[in-house]
Amino acid sequence: MNVKKFWIPVVFIILAIFPPFFLSQYWLHVMIISLFYVMMASSWNLIAGFTGQVSFAHAAFSGIGAYVSGMLAVYLGLSPWLGILVGMGVAALLGLGLGYLCIRMGGIYLSLTTLGFSEILRIIITNEDRWTRGTMGLQVPGFFTEYSKASYYYLFLIIAILLLIVIYWIIHSEMGLTFRAVLNDELAASSSGINTIQVRILAFTISSAMAGLAGGLYGHYLMLITPDIPSLGQMFLVLAMAVIGGMGSFVGPILGSFLLEILSEYIRIYGEYHVLIFGLVALSVARFAPEGVIGILGKKWESVWAR
């Protein structure tokens, strides 16, 4: 790793320490939500951008993380710190199961099956209101006894950074090479000794686990878990962030998350239409600039450290 490659993230991390000192509570909240989306979009990018499997169950897995951790805290009094890990484990297991079931289908069938899974989960959560409190929302405890946005900001920051380090490590490891080989040409990868089905299930499981962790964090931050977390609206927002930021690059989804979350604060007054707008923008980006904002910002910059 060259010096420049090493210092750019370090500078960003140091800069990220300061926002709580000067941002208002409101903008700090926006930053925390952005960090949640960074985790979501980056982990979704791991399957969609690096192995080419467009899953629509990513928000569903974050919902699983949130509800598992939340319900454990409410009904069993489990600490959220442990709860999010259990939630992550359950998301990983369900990811493995769903992956095993539908990954052999591949392509559009995988997308449709995950879409179905996502809707089924949302309907179950909405209707099983005895346990989940349905659309009323489940009130869950937070991580800290004394509520402060700054503590949550640092918690989200640290976990997002750890998650990004893991993702960076994966895409630059041998595993990442096999991911990209599967994305480029599955038949050729298989004929080169790569167990493509195992690779795809592995990517799906890792990515689901990450979504579960992000969802658990999110739930205990909001302290109110609703079926909005595993909703398709949320899913398309994550998708738009990754696509607009730049799928298949490391930095793209991070950039896209901040960009769209901050932007959506300004256009919130128009109601839920912002998801529609982002969807349309994401479609145009996918069609005309498949490498996203990162691609537009220039290959030169990308070659320095985005990959």
Binding site: A181, L183, N184, L187, A188, S190, S191, S192, T196
Partner: protein
């Protein structure tokens, strides 16, 4: 020398079309065997059966006496059969070095670091004459370079037998000579068995120890190159006079 790959009574149909009909073949260790036949004769289908992309409807495949009929492509690759494709399929959006590294990872022999894999991939690129292209994205290569890269990736899996599907197609005469030199080096230096499909007759006749001729899914002739060129059935198959 013993038989390394053997197929017994292989058949494969797609819908009503029988692409390969009851074919028996074998490859001896260290042999170069050519597979020829007119378009649609079933050559690539036979390759796809041997490399596990399709499974035969009937018949059995053996590698060193082990039944590999139902194995998946990556398992067959790991057991020692590598291949290239008629229409080249390098990983277009990856660098040449990464392409070859995938083949090394595909061997699935653990305990080697990324640096070591990288060094080995560099050596293989040098072996096929692509030194200096390590960082080049495969999609930007010329056709012959892509073919060389595909060969390097196949070699990276350390096959005992390698299937080459029309490596000479689309190359100019001087490139053909380079490719032939490379194939000869693969045999003499790496002691691999080579099974290849080729339409460039002069080249395959000169370089092969033995030739198998397919026509309409059936094996119509097998023998030394000089026996093949004078066989009336082979000439008939190519000129379309089988019914005469």
């Amino acid at each position: 020398m013993g038989t390394i790959v053997e197929g017994k009574g292989l058949s494969k149909s797609f819908g009503g079309l029988t692409a390969v009909k009851k074919i028996d073949f074998y490859l001896e260790e260290g042999e170069i065997v050519g597979l020829i036949g007119p378009n649609g004769a079933g050559k690539t289908t036979l390759f796809n059966l041997v490399s596990g992309i399709f499974h035969p409807d009937e018949g059995k495949l053996f590698l060193n006496g082990r039944d590999i009929t139902e194995l998946r492509p990556f398992e067959i690759c790991r057991l020692g059969i590598g291949r290239t494709f008629q229409i080249v399929r390098p990983f277009l959006k990856m660098s040449c070095l990464e392409n070859v590294m995938v083949g090394i990872i595909g061997r699935n022999d653990r305990n080697r670091g990324r640096a070591e894999i990288g060094r080995e991939a560099e050596d293989l690129l040098k072996f096929v004459g692509l030194d200096g292209f390590e960082g080049t994205i495969a999609g930007n290569l010329t056709l012959i370079q892509k073919k060389r890269l595909e060969m390097a990736r196949a070699l990276a899996t350390e096959p005992r037998a390698i299937l080459l599907d029309e490596v000479l197609a689309g190359l100019n005469p001087s490139e053909i000579l380079q490719a032939l030199a490379l194939i000869e080096t693969i045999r003499s230096k790496l002691k691999m068995t080579i099974f290849w499909i080729e339409h460039v007759m002069g080249a395959i006749m000169k370089a092969s120890d033995r030739i198998i001729v397919l026509d309409q899914g059936e094996k119509i002739k097998e023998g030394k190159p000089e026996e093949i060129v004078s066989d009336p059935r082979v000439i008939g198959a190519y000129l379309g006079e089988t019914d005469a």
